[in-house]
Structure formats: C-alpha cells, structure tokens
Amino acid sequence: MTSTRPVLRASGLCKTFGSGAALVRAVDGVDLDVAPGETVAIMGPSGCGKSTLLHLLGGLERSSAGEIDLAGECVSGISERALAHLRRTAIGFVFQGFYLMDELTAIENVELPGLLARRSPKAARARARELLEQVGLADRTGFLPSALSGGQRQRVAIARALINQPMIVLADEPTGNLDSTATVEVLRLFESLHESGQTLVIVTHEQRVAATADRLVSMRDGAFVDETRMTGGSRGDLGKLIGLGGE
C-alpha cells in the first residue's frame, strides 16, 4: 500500500483546563492521522472533548502537550503570528454557530479571510463570488446574514472557510443549529467537497453527518475509543434496504 503523507498528523495531544482539584482533561492523549482527500468524522457524547480537539487542530487553542504536524511541518510550538498565518492559508474552520459578521453581506463575509491574507480586493471578491456560486448562493451574494436562513448562513460560512484554498477544512458540529432540510443542504455540500478532493475533519454527534465520512472515530472522555472504516456497499443491496427483497 502506498503511503501518502498525511495532511494532518496529531500525536499525543493533550489539553487540560484549570488546576489542582478543578483540573479537567478535555483532550487526553489523542493520535490522529488524516490522509489527503479523506473525510474523517469524530463522534461522541457532549463534553467528550471533540470540540476542544478541533480547536487544537485548528490552531484556535494551544495544546498542553503533544505534537501537530500539518503537511509534514510541525505546528504545535509555533508563534502566535505563525499560527495566524496558518489559519488564513492552510486551515478553514466552520463553526456550529456560523459566526458571520452581522453587518457584512454574504460576499463580504466570504472575502474577509482573503483580505486578511493580503489578497488583492478584486481577486478576493472574484473568488468569493465563485465560491458562493459553488455553494448555490449565487443570487444571494448581497444579502445580510439576518436575511438568510440557517442553512444558507452555514453555506456562506463554508464558502468563507474555502476562500484561501486550505489544505484541510475543520467543521465543528456544522449541522448543530440546523433543521433537517438545511442539514441535507450542508451534507450535500460536504459530499461535493469530498468529491473534489478536499480533506475534511467533521466533529458531530449526529449519525447522518458521521455517515458521510470515510472514517469514523468515536471519542469519549477526551480519548479515541473506536474507529470504523466506512466502506460503501453496492447498489444491489438497495432492494433489501427498501424492503423489497424476496420472501
């Protein structure tokens, strides 16, 4: 088996909060390899540390111990500036709460990381428009978030995460605040991203979302406890699925 270098490799990641009697081990010795183009889903009950893990991987939080490698480069001990550089070039983050700027239109929200990465305003805007088309919001580029539905807002957020062509997109409970219709919209989007070769790591507690992954990792009390390879079945099984199998 040819081993392609993993896009993301974490070894021995730990994150503790508080001290003494109030010490909380949010992440307790996590190892994770993510191959290029792979979709990994991390599932677990609330409070198991999966969001904290994602924040560590995304450079939004500093780990207490352990190493993170991104495309072979060690990124765990780097300076705040270098971390910020990573966040605008190599990593795209999607939050459960969307976190769009309320006073910016959809396209202004999407182009913002581009501007922060010192792209020319024209280039950033053009790419933002492209991405909004890709996520199916070409006719809503000038809308404010308050005029968009939850699913549309999350799609804008996903477009925003993609603007700097990140190596890896990290999504923290992306469908947590969405109804089932909006969830399907977002899952469709993730599916198409997966098809175009984007590496994804999704944290979720919903099986529907986890079922889109190539690999499913279960987490409990800050550590991984299980891993499932989700290989696809053939369409022939569909008859059984829908209950029309023979008697």
Partner: protein, 600 residues
C-alpha cells in the same frame, strides 16, 4: 411587597458582581466626572461677582478720599487742615456715612527673607461703619499685632501667629482680612492714586501690600521722607453717583476704579478659570455620554434575561434602576468628596487673586446639580432599555444582537484596500460611529483647554502688567492644576473608550483572529480605532483653543503659543491615546480565540 424589594435588590447586586470590571469602570467615569463638575462649578462660583461680595461683607465705601502724603519735601498735614478737608467731604450732598480719617504710612514688611513695600493703615479696634475689613482668619488688630490683607498674606506665605518685621519692629500677625476699599495684592492703593511718590521707582509702581495696625503703631512708622497720608471712606446715597462726586472733589477715587483695577488684574486668570471650568464640565459630560450609551446596550441584554425568568417589565425596570443608582450615587458621592477636597486648592489660589470672602467652595447648588446629573445618567441608562424591552418580545430581547451594528458600505469597500490593522480599525469604527464622534469631541475639548491655557501663558509677557514672580507662580499653579484635571479626565475617558471598544469588540476580534489575523494586528486595529477619531479632535483643538482664549480675553491681540508647544501637545495627546487604548486591547487579546468565541 417586601419580598419584591429583596428580590430586586438581590438581582441588582448579583448583576453588579458578575461584571465587576464593568461596574468599576462605570464607577470611575462617574466619579471623575462628578469631581470635575464639582470643581468646575466651584471655579465658576469663585469668579462670580467676587468684588460685589466683598463690598457687601465689608460695607465697602463708594468714594475714598486721600489727604496728606505728598512728595519728600512735603510737610505733614496739620490736624486743622485735615479736619477741614474731612468736614467738607463728609457734609457734601449725597454723603450718608463715613469712616476715618485713618493714618496711612508707607513702610516695608520683612518676612523670611522677603522684603515687600506696604501701605500700613491705622485703625480702631471698634468696627467702622464704612469699610470694616472682614477678618477671614484670626482676629482684628490689637496693640503689638498686625492684620494682613489676604492676597498679600497668601503671596508672602504668612499665617496667623507668625511674626513679621515692620519698619524695624516685630509684630505678631493677629489675623488676615479682606477689604473692598483698595484692590488686593499685587495691586494696591498706589495703582489708583498714590499718596507716596517715594514709592514710585524708576520702573513704575512696584507691588505693595496692605496691612492694618493700631493708630499709634502707624504713627510710629511714618518716615521722614514719607509723611503720613489719611484715608477717608465715604458712603453715598446713590453709589452710581460716585464718578460724579469724584469729578467735583480732588484727591478722591471711586469704588468702580477699585473694581476695574481688580478686573484688569484678574482678567487673564478669570479667562483661564472660566475656560477651564467650562471645558472640564463638557469633558465630564462627554464621558458620561459614552458611559450611558454603553450601559444602555449592556442593559438591553440583561433585560432579555430578566424577562425570560419571569420578571414583569416593572420589576425589570426596577432592577436596572437600582443597579444603576447604586453605582451612580456611590460614584457621585465619591466625586463630590474628591471635588470638595480639591476645590479649596483652586479657590484658595483664586482667593488670592480675587479676595472673595465667604464664598463657599461648594455651594448647595453644586451638590444638587451633580447629584441630579448622576441620577439622570443612571435613570436614562436603566429606563431606556427597560422601556424598549417592555415593547419587544422576550425572544427578540434575548436574541443577543437585536440590532445589527450600523453598516457603511463605503467604509467596508475602502477598508478592503488597506493594510490589515487599518482594515480592522475602520470597520470597527463604522460599527459604532457615535462612539468615535464622542471620542473626537473628548480629545478636542482637552486639547482646546490645554492650548487656551498655553495661550494665556504666552499672553503674560505681552500684557502691560507688572506681575511679581510670586503671582506668576500662583497663576502657573492654577493653570497647572486645571491642566492636570483636564488631562486626568481625558485619560479616564480615553481609557474607558478603549476598554469599551475592546470589550464590545471581543467577539469580532476573536473571530478575526480565527480567520487569520494575528493578535498584533487585532490590537493595532483596536488602538487605531481609538486613534483615528482622536487625530482630527486634537488638530481641531489647536485653533479652537487659540480662538476661545482670544474670544474671552477680549481686547487683546491674538496670542498664539509657540509652535513647539503646540506640536508637543499634539504628539503627547496622540501618544497618550495610543498607549491608553493599547493596554485594554492587549489584555483582551491574551485569551485564545476559541475561549472567547465559545463564551460569547
């Protein structure tokens, strides 16, 4: 009912305890504002008709007559001549009362190495019907003791109980008093009508002090080259007729000329005090404005929470009001106390210039005004959100950002082309334009004040007054105190604005960092968001300060402080704004983005 009261109190206290930094900042802003307003009101009281107050308190004369004195070669006036002159004056039509004649000698006082020329007036121990100097400290004259005019005493640094040498003899200072008959130190009788030509030197009349002694002591002071003069105080039926009276009688002068002498003297100081007072007051109000607007937004969130737990709109309003009042009253009290302590510092100096007796440092009016203002701020900050919330549904009140921050497409478009810190700064400003405006106003007021004071300093060498070093020191002291207060208040306002901007921008700053801005860029952005409005404010303050001084010091040519001073003020202001606003932004950038995003 009682349960309701306890509940309201508990909710209010809990709210305050949960956001200690906020409460502290509010306390600081209100207290500083209260102190400043107190001082401002005290200052305006001091310069308000002080001469009239003195005249009233001392039964000031309408006309003062001088007999005797004269040049070196003159003979002392005989008692018969004196009696005749006195009789003709006191029986003149329109005169209803008189006191004197009082023997007056030209001498010198020596105290702690200082020697200053004085006019020494001999008085009776019994009070006079016209011009009885009002003792401010200590007591009236007695044998072997001297009473010193208040302005002179301040300048010399003399206190009741000290010993001074007068004409070679030692006298104990029995008291310090004020009078309306002659202008206070450093002006003197000789500035109006000098009976002692010997006193006039080649450079004009020097500063002369005024002291009161017993008649016998004064008689002993008379020198051979400077015979005694006699002062006679007259009261007219119609004080307004004094100039007409003086026109008919030689060697007399009016109370109006005393007043003009005082006004000419304190002109500059009055301007400085007036300007200082106004600016301090406006600056305080600007700071309170920012505070109130911020409290309103903060309280809107609280309202949603309170409604969600079942509080009626009335209870909500009560809780907010109690919260705000506790803060406001506490801060106002602290401010009044501080103002009460500081004001004498200023009016004490001012009194030396003006000699207003019995003017309290803090009038009841001042206390009422300040309390009312503090309560108004508290009431507005609590009632506006409560009223709004009573109208909107609980759900939309809870929706944390019920109002979209203001959006300026032009700013957003322009900022896209700028370096990251400027981009962040401009967008931050466009979210809250009113606060930026208050920032500009605040800085403009401060710089106006400082420049006006610098202009008054630049004026002094030009003005045609001989001012002693002692007086100049006092003037410098006064303006220094006003400047310090302006600067402190501006610093508090700026820090508050910087803190408020950082606090309000916590979420967007964390998000910007999550999207790839460095902590340094975010901090720089927040600092610039404070600096950009400050710059035009500082620049405008320079011509405003010059103009304000010119306007109030009417009749004087335009005085412009030296360029290096103006440049210095500009640079110092901008530097101070940068530093003061960098601190809270730096502090808020220390938490990781994830933690901030999750808690907001």
């Amino acid at each position: 009912m009682k349960g309701q009261v306890v509940l309201v109190w508990r909710l209010a206290v809990r709210d305050l305890r949960r956001h200690p930094v906020e409460a502290l900042m509010a306390l600081l802003v209100i207290a500083t504002a209260a102190t400043t307003l107190t001082v401002a009101l005290a200052l305006s009281g001091v310069t308000n008709q002080p001469y009239q107050q003195t005249r009233l308190a001392t039964a000031g004369p309408d006309v003062i007559a001088i007999e005797g004195g004269g040049p070196v070669s003159a003979q002392p006036v005989s008692s018969a001549q004196l009696a005749a002159a006195v009789a003709s004056l006191t029986t003149a039509p329109g005169v209803i009362a008189h006191s004197g004649p009082y023997p007056t000698a030209y001498s010198a006082v020596r105290f702690r190495g200082h020697t200053v020329d004085v006019v020494a007036e001999g008085r009776d121990q019994a009070p006079a019907p016209v011009d009885q100097p009002k003792v401010m400290q200590g007591g009236w004259i007695r044998p072997g003791a001297v009473v010193i005019e208040r302005g002179f005493a301040d300048a010399l640094g003399v206190h009741v109980g000290d010993n001074v040498r007068l004409g070679g003899l030692s006298f104990r200072v029995a008291g310090i008093a004020v009078t309306a008959a002659v202008p206070p130190y450093p002006s003197s009788l000789c500035h109006i009508a000098c009976p002692f030509p010997a006193a006039v030197g080649s450079f004009g009349v020097p500063n002369m002090g005024l002291v009161w002694l017993t008649r016998s002591a004064v008689a002993g002071l008379a020198r051979s080259g400077a015979p005694l003069a006699y002062l006679l105080n007259l009261k007219l039926a119609d004080p307004a007729q004094a100039p007409a009276f003086v026109a008919q009688h030689p060697d007399t002068f009016t109370w109006q000329s005393v007043q003009s002498a005082i006004n000419a003297l304190i002109g500059i100081e009055q301007v400085a005090l007036g300007v200082g007072g106004w600016l301090l007051g406006l600056l305080a109000l600007a700071g309170l404005g920012v505070l109130a607007s911020r409290r309103i937004t903060e309280q809107s969130k609280r309202v949603g929470l309170l409604k969600a737990v079942g509080a009626t709109p009335a209870t909500v309003a009560l809780v907010l009001l109690v919260e705000q009042l506790t803060l406001a009253v506490g801060a106002a009290a602290a401010g009044l106390l501080a103002g009460w302590l500081i004001a004498p510092l200023l009016t004490g100096t001012g009194a030396g210039l003006v000699g207003a007796p019995g003017a309290p440092s803090i009038s009841v009016l001042a206390v009422i005004t300040i309390t009312v203002i503090a309560l108004a701020v508290a009431a507005i900050s609590s009632l506006v959100p409560a009223i709004r919330a009573a109208r909107t549904s609980t759900v939309s009140a809870l929706a944390d950002a019920p109002r979209v921050p203001s959006r300026r497409p032009l700013v957003i478009a322009v900022s896209a082309r700028l370096p990251v810190p400027l981009l962040l700064a401009l967008r931050q400003l466009s979210r809250r334009p009113r606060r930026a405006l208050l920032n500009t106003i605040s800085i403009a007021l401060t710089v106006t004040g400082i420049v006006a004071i610098l202009a008054s300093h630049a004026h002094i060498p030009i003005a045609n007054l001989t001012i002693s070093n002692l007086k100049l020191d006092r003037f410098n002291e006064l303006t220094a105190i006003i400047t310090v207060m302006l600067v402190i208040l501006a610093a508090v306002n700026t820090t508050f604005i910087g803190w408020a901007t950082a606090a309000d921008g916590r979420f967007s700053s964390a998000l910007e960092r999550a999207l790839g801005a460095t902590a340094g860029q975010v901090t720089a952005g927040l600092s610039m968001a404070a600096l950009l409005p400050a710059l035009p404010g500082a620049i405008i303050g320079i011509p405003l300060g010059i103009g304000v001084y010119h306007l109030l010091a009417s009749g004087t040519p335009l005085t412009v402080p030296p360029a290096w001073q103006l440049a210095g003020v500009l640079l110092a202001t901008l530097l101070a704004v940068t530093v003061l606003t960098a601190i809270p932004s730096r502090l808020s950038a220390r938490r990781s983005p994830a933690q901030v995003l999750q808690t907001e």
